[in-house]
Every structure is written in structure tokens, then in C-alpha cells.
């Protein structure tokens, strides 16, 4: 019943179009307009849109060739983006994942409220992560949905933007990560088409949550700073009545401390523990108060690990601020499915500390390249246990990856170093000097820490992990 008449102006020599809108909204002053950034919403329709030449950046360890343009499949078209997720044993990479970053100026996405796309897969499958805002610089406005279910027919997906007003200059337009955890290690294909930022208008108001929406607490020391692990999310009600939760980077939120003289936190979520005391950290998103808070207790001055005294020339350092560290793949591999250990690493006055929480086991991997510790005689580790557990029995394992240089492959060797309750004290730094007895140690790539015999250690700090010779 409602009819609308649009007047189209068509001309063959249509070079420039100037629109002057004289009502409805006041324009911002010229100072406020980011005139240089494109507000194009499209990322891929039948081909990549305005991404430039060099825009596809795969994740470390992923199969580099996973993404192609498929000219035989498309949502109501003849082409789409095709992602070939490799088998888990593919030597070129055991998963698919990458960012799409504009090769050039960022885009102004403030006029949109969601990233949308159509997708289908070669089989029903759950895709690990899909999002935007990851640029391999600060990933400041990273956002994604997790465990997205794709079916074998085209379905439209909506990823709401946590707060569009933040995206005035965004280069990270799209990213994905997909593995074979749910397909028994077997590869599959999925297609994405009509990938674009849209102004839907049909999203419910945002419901932000930080610290898992819980009233949680945390103890720290004077001088610690960094970005809190805030587990920040925003939930939106979609047009179909279902909720969609987006994992959102802390920078989308405005952060507040109830006691800025004790814990200062800037608007991006970067905190600094200044003085002994207690502060409640809360956040808002686009003016909406987030559910959840973190009561931070600053206990006092931190007791630093003893400063290493070995000559740098005699050291191969894995984790220390006293030496240059070798390239490390990770200090926590979050090994699925049995690892429970989380990381709450922190830095005090520039001294970085590894903090493992909810610990059962964890690994430090440095396999790219592995290290040659043939000349080295000892492994040094400093360990601080805030609260002594009911049962302590700890194992450190050094793994040499053998000639093939990879974890597994049949030629790995390992040395176990046992640390028992009588070797450690709570509330002080315990320094271990562990003799290396491993015969082959020219391809060491991994150190594993674990509770054994059902030990109950859950929370500890590590510092100054290095191999050395005397």
C-alpha cells in the first residue's frame, strides 16, 4: 500500500554528482570529517572490492593457499571466495586462517552496523572464528564470532559491529580461522560471498559484558601494567529474534576504575597498578554499562626474581628481560583438549613475568627455528608460587625435535627434570639450575611444565628461562 516514487537521473556522460542535503541531519563540522577514508562497505561481491594488491595475510602455521576466488560457485552469482581447509596432517599447514587487510587507507565504517555475508560449505561444519578488525598491527578493534555453523546451502550470516563509531579508519576488514577439530582431521571447503559491511537497522541494542559477565577478582602488585584479559563480548538480538554474541577487543569499551589512585586504567583498557589498595574495574560500550567487573587488589611491591648473572654470550634465552630471547612460537600453546592452563602474564616496571593460572600443564615452544643447545650445560628457571598447593609435584620436560626439526616424526628425545615439594618455597623466587643430560640437544624446540601424580598447583609465575654454560 505504501508506494514510493524514486526519480532516477540517467545519463551516459555522468561524471560528477554533488548532493546537497538540506534537511534531516546537521553535518559535522569539516574538522570532524575524515575525508580521506573510503566508506565503501563491500569487501567481496564477485571479486575483491577496493582491497588493493597485497591484502591477504595468512596466519602463522596455516596453509597459505587456502583462499581462492571460485568462478563456478556463488550466491546468486557466478563467483565467490573459496576456502580449502586442509587436512590436519597437511605438511603445508594444518588449518586455514588469514586476515584481509586493505592495501592502502583504512575505511570509515561508522555508517554500518554489521559485517554480513552468505556462506555454505561442502559439508555441515563448524567454523572456528570469523570476524573483522584484525590488522596484524594493534588489532585494536578486533571482533569476531566463534563456532559458526555452516550448512551445505547458502545462508546469510550477520556479525554486528560492537560499536561502529570506533571504526573511522579500519584496515582489517575480514578474518577467519578454520580447522578440522570437528571433522576428524579431514579437510573441507567453504564459500563466502557478498561479504560486506551493511547498515541493517534491525539489530537490538548492544548488551556488553566484561570479565565473563561476572563479579571477579584479581590480585596484583605495584607496577604491573598491561591490557586486562577482560573476555569482553557484546550480545545483539538479530532480526530473527536470536542473539548473536560478538567477542570484542577491549578498545571498543570505555574502562573505568573506582579507585584511580590505586589502579589507573585508560579508556582502551590499559591498566597500571600504582599503589596498594583495591579498585573495581568496570566498562561501558557506546554508553551502555557492561555486565561484570574485576575487583583488583594491589598487594604491594613485587618481589622480583634474582637478576641473571650469566654472561650473555653463554646464554640461549627463552624468556628473560635480561637477555635477547630466541624466536618463541608461544609461551602457552593452549593445547586441546586436555590443557586447562590459562595465561595471565604481566609486566612490572618493564620486567615481564609469565603467570600460569588454572594450571595442569603448559608448553613453551621455540621450533622456528629450534635451538642448538649442544654447548649448554644447564637450564635455568625462576619460579614463584604465591600460595603453596595442598600437593606439589612438578615436572619440567625438555624436548629435542631431532634432525627433522619438528615435534613428533619419530626422532624426538626428551629429558625429564623433577621438582618436588622440598625443592620449593611459597612466596619467594625459587631458582632452578637443571643439568642438561640429553644426548641430542641440537634441535631443542619445546619445554613442558606439568603437574604430575595429581598435584594441585594452579597458579605460579615463571621468569628467566634460559639455557647456559659455565
Amino acid at each position: 500500500m505504501k508506494y514510493k516514487k524514486f526519480i532516477y537521473l540517467k545519463t551516459a556522460l555522468f561524471i560528477a554528482l554533488i548532493t546537497i542535503n538540506t534537511s534531516c541531519e546537521r553535518d559535522l563540522s569539516e574538522d570532524a570529517v575524515f575525508a580521506t577514508n573510503s566508506n565503501t562497505g563491500e569487501i567481496f561481491t564477485d571479486s575483491p572490492i577496493g582491497l588493493g594488491t597485497d591484502f591477504y595475510f595468512p596466519f602463522l602455521g596455516s596453509k597459505l593457499t587456502a583462499w581462492t576466488v571460485d568462478d563456478n560457485e556463488g550466491y546468486e552469482s557466478q563467483s565467490s571466495m573459496r576456502f580449502d581447509v586442509p587436512n590436519a596432517n597437511d605438511p603445508e599447514g594444518n588449518y586455514a586462517g588469514a586476515i584481509f587487510r586493505v592495501d592502502g587507507n583504512g575505511r570509515d565504517l561508522t555508517g554500518y552496523d554489521a559485517l554480513t555475508f552468505w556462506a555454505k560449505a561442502s559439508q555441515g561444519v563448524v567454523i572456528g572464528e570469523i570476524g573483522f578488525g584484525q590488522d596484524f598491527f594493534d588489532n585494536k578493534y578486533q571482533a569476531n564470532v566463534a563456532n559458526v555453523s555452516f550448512s551445505t546451502n547458502w545462508v546469510k550470516y550477520i556479525i554486528p559491529i560492537p560499536d561502529p563509531s570506533k571504526l573511522i579508519d579500519e584496515r582489517g576488514l575480514f578474518w577467519y580461522s578454520a580447522g578440522t577439530q570437528n571433522t576428524g582431521g579431514l579437510g573441507y571447503v567453504f564459500w563466502i560471498d557478498d561479504l560486506k559491511f551493511e547498515k541493517l537497522g534491525t539489530l537490538g541494542s548492544p548488551r556488553p559484558s566484561v570479565f565473563n559477565g561476572e563479579e571477579s577478582s584479581y590480585q596484583t602488585f605495584i607496577g604491573t601494567d598491561g591490557i586486562l584479559d577482560s573476555s569482553s563480548t557484546v550480545t545483539f538480538n538479530l532480526v530473527n529474534g536470536l542473539n548473536q554474541t560478538v567477542i570484542a577487543a577491549p578498545s571498543y569499551f570505555n574502562w573505568m576504575s573506582s579507585e584511580t589512585s590505586s589502579v589507573y586504567i585508560d579508556e582502551t583498557g590499559f591498566y597500571n597498578a600504582i599503589a596498594t589498595g583495591e579498585a573495581v574495574i568496570t566498562a561501558t560500550l557506546a554508553g551502555v554499562e557492561a555486565q561484570g567487573s574485576l575487583t583488583t587488589t594491589v598487594l604491594g611491591e613485587f618481589d622480583f626474581a634474582p637478576y641473571p648473572t650469566q654472561d650473555a654470550g653463554n646464554v640461549i634465552s627463552i624468556f628473560s628481560d635480561a637477555y635477547s630471547n630466541v624466536p618463541v612460537d608461544f609461551y602457552n600453546g593452549y593445547w586441546e583438549p586436555f590443557q586447562t592452563t590459562l595465561s595471565a602474564d604481566f609486566a612490572i616496571n618493564g620486567d615481564n613475568i609469565l603467570n600460569y593460572t588454572n594450571f595442569n600443564f603448559v608448553g613453551n615452544q621455540f621450533a622456528n627455528p629450534t635451538i642448538d643447545a649442544s654447548d649448554m650445560s644447564y637450564l635455568h628457571v625462576d619460579m614463584f608460587i604465591p600460595e603453596f598447593p595442598s600437593f606439589f609435584d612438578f615436572l619440567i620436560t625438555v624436548v629435542d625435535f631431532g634432525a627433522d626439526g619438528v615435534d613428533g616424526g619419530g626422532d624426538d628425545t626428551r629429558q625429564q627434570m623433577f621438582v618436588t615439594a622440598s625443592d620449593v618455597e611459597a612466596g619467594v623466587w625459587n631458582s632452578f639450575e637443571l643439568p642438561l643430560t640429553l644426548t641430542n640437544r641440537s634441535n631443542i624446540g619445546l619445554i613442558i611444565y606439568e603437574n604430575i601424580n595429581f598435584a594441585t598447583l594452579r597458579n605460579f609465575y615463571l621468569d628467566n628461562i634460559y639455557f647456559y654454560k659455565e
Binding site: M1, K2, Y3, K4, K5, F6, I7, L9, T11, L13, F14, I15, A16, L17, I18, T19, I20, N21, T22, S23, C24, K199, L200, G201, T202, L203, G204, S205, R207, N237, V239, N240, G241, L242, N243
Partner: protein, 281 residues
């Protein structure tokens, strides 16, 4: 007050300069050309603007309290109260709140207001400006019943649903009539789907214009349905006598099922005004 809408069309100027055409568009209003006669009745005879803080004016509104029979005939889950927690006027807005709480054996409370014995009228224009709640199992409604319900019963009295919304469909409302032979699941209705917007994010006007042998349904400036005796599968009971108004916010029930774990409480139905006009044709 006739909501006849006339938007200006687009003026344009062409400048032609040696093979280069520069076009300047001056858009002088928000929407494109648009003409629809939505309403015709202009004589306001009753209104509540909800301008006085606190409880609604008792001269205008009464309440249904409790759970009715079988959840007001619809397996609704809430207990209706007239407490300020469930119904209050603040800052010129009537706020009806559905709360998740244990109350007299029910798991939810809410409110249901009606003008029975206060404002009863045959024909006219009945409209409210509302912001709807949302979420699975949330069921706001702005509707009318025949004032002879106590004599002839339901559905013989007739029911005119000006606006009903299923909270799991945040962009849709429906308008319906119920009568003998076309009640409950057999009601005559039509849905209206809001484009690029949703009913819980802002205020919208929901109304009917009701005259002899017709009821017109509109949302904002869009007339989206007309129901006449030809549309109903039974006796037309809407020329018999006056009707009264009901506004309520139900939880659960046959319309949208029960709330689920994603449904957020409390939910609020906000009402800016209710206005009634006379059939002046």
C-alpha cells in the same frame, strides 16, 4: 491532524559543460515522494498523554489482576499486578514492566490496563505511540474487546487487536479481529514487517480506524491492512456496540511460546500516549 503525507519531490539542476555533466541534487525532505491517506478521523475525544508521574489516572484505566483462567485463556505465565514495579508513569511515559520474580505462585509479573466502564466507544480512531519490548516469549498487545463481553461472552463480543508483537520477531507486529467462527488460531490477521528498523529500538504509532463494515490498520504512516465483513469467516460483530481498550505485556503463552535463556528481564513496554478520535464521517 490528518496524517495525509505529502513529501516534496526532488528538484534538480543540470549544468552541461563541454562533455562533463555536473549534477547538483537538492533534497528538500527526508523521504522520497510518498502519498497515502492513512487516517481520516480528526476529532480527538479522549486521550491519555501520561503526563502525571506515578500511577496511571484511575478515571482512565483499570487493571486485570492475577493469572486469569488458564493464563488469561492463553497459557500466559505472568501474574498481573497494579504495583508500581509493573506499571508506572515516569517522565511522560507509561512504563509497563515484565519482571522475572516469584510472585503468588507465578514466575513473572507484569501489568494489564483496560478502559472497561471508563472509555467505551463504537467506531473511531484508536492509536498509541509505543516502544515495544523484545525477546522470545514476550508478548505486548494493544487491543480492544466488545463491551458486551459479560453478556454475550468471547468471541461473540468481538476482539480487535490493534497491535500484537511476538518478542522473537522484533521487526513484526500484527493486527487482527476475532469473532464467532474466526477466533483464536482462526483469527483474521495480517503482519506488518518494519524495514531496516525494529520495534524495540524506538517509538512507533499503532492504530486503527474503525467505521461501519471496515477496520483499517496502520503503523506510523503506513496503512497496511483493511478488514471488512467479506474477510471474516463468520458473523461480523463490529457494528454492534462500543469496545474498550486493553494494553498489556504478557510473558509466555500461545503467541510466542515461553521465554528462553536468551530472554532478558525485565522487559518494558513504553507508552507515550493513547488517543481516541471520533468517527466523524
Amino acid at each position: 491532524m490528518n496524517k495525509k503525507i505529502n513529501y516534496k519531490t526532488i528538484r534538480s539542476t543540470f549544468l552541461y559543460m563541454s562533455f562533463i555533466l555536473v549534477v547538483t541534487l537538492t533534497i528538500s525532505s527526508c523521504a522520497t515522494d510518498d502519498n497515502q491517506t492513512v487516517t481520516e478521523f480528526t476529532e480527538l475525544v479522549w486521550q491519555d498523554e501520561f503526563d502525571i508521574q506515578g500511577a496511571p489516572n484511575p478515571d482512565n484505566w483499570g487493571y486485570n489482576i492475577g493469572t486469569g483462567e488458564n493464563g488469561w485463556g492463553n497459557s500466559e505465565l505472568q501474574y498481573y499486578t497494579d504495583r508500581s514495579e509493573n506499571v508506572v508513569i515516569q517522565n511522560g511515559i507509561l512504563i509497563i514492566s515484565a519482571i522475572k520474580e516469584d510472585y503468588n505462585g507465578s514466575s513473572y509479573t507484569s501489568a494489564r490496563l483496560l478502559t472497561k466502564d471508563k472509555l467505551e466507544q463504537k467506531y473511531g480512531r484508536f492509536e498509541a505511540r509505543m516502544r515495544l519490548p523484545s525477546g522470545k516469549g514476550i508478548w505486548p498487545a494493544f487491543w480492544m474487546l466488545g463491551a458486551n463481553i459479560d453478556q454475550v461472552g468471547w468471541p461473540n463480543c468481538g476482539e480487535i487487536d490493534i497491535m500484537e508483537n511476538a518478542g522473537s520477531e522484533p521487526t513484526k507486529v500484527s493486527g487482527a479481529v476475532h469473532g464467532p467462527g474466526y477466533s483464536g488460531g482462526a483469527a483474521i490477521f495480517k503482519k506488518y514487517d518494519l524495514q531496516n528498523d525494529r520495534f524495540d529500538s524506538g517509538f512507533h504509532i499503532f492504530g486503527i480506524e474503525w467505521g461501519p463494515e471496515y477496520i483499517n490498520y496502520y503503523v506510523d504512516d503506513v496503512l497496511y491492512n483493511q478488514i471488512t465483513p467479506a474477510d471474516v469467516t463468520g458473523e461480523w460483530v463490529f457494528d454492534n456496540g462500543p469496545f474498550y481498550i486493553i494494553m498489556n505485556l504478557a510473558v509466555g503463552g500461545v503467541f510466542d511460546g515461553s521465554p528462553n535463556e536468551d530472554t532478558v528481564f525485565p522487559q518494558t513496554l513504553l507508552v507515550d500516549y493513547v488517543r481516541v478520535y471520533k468517527n466523524n464521517n
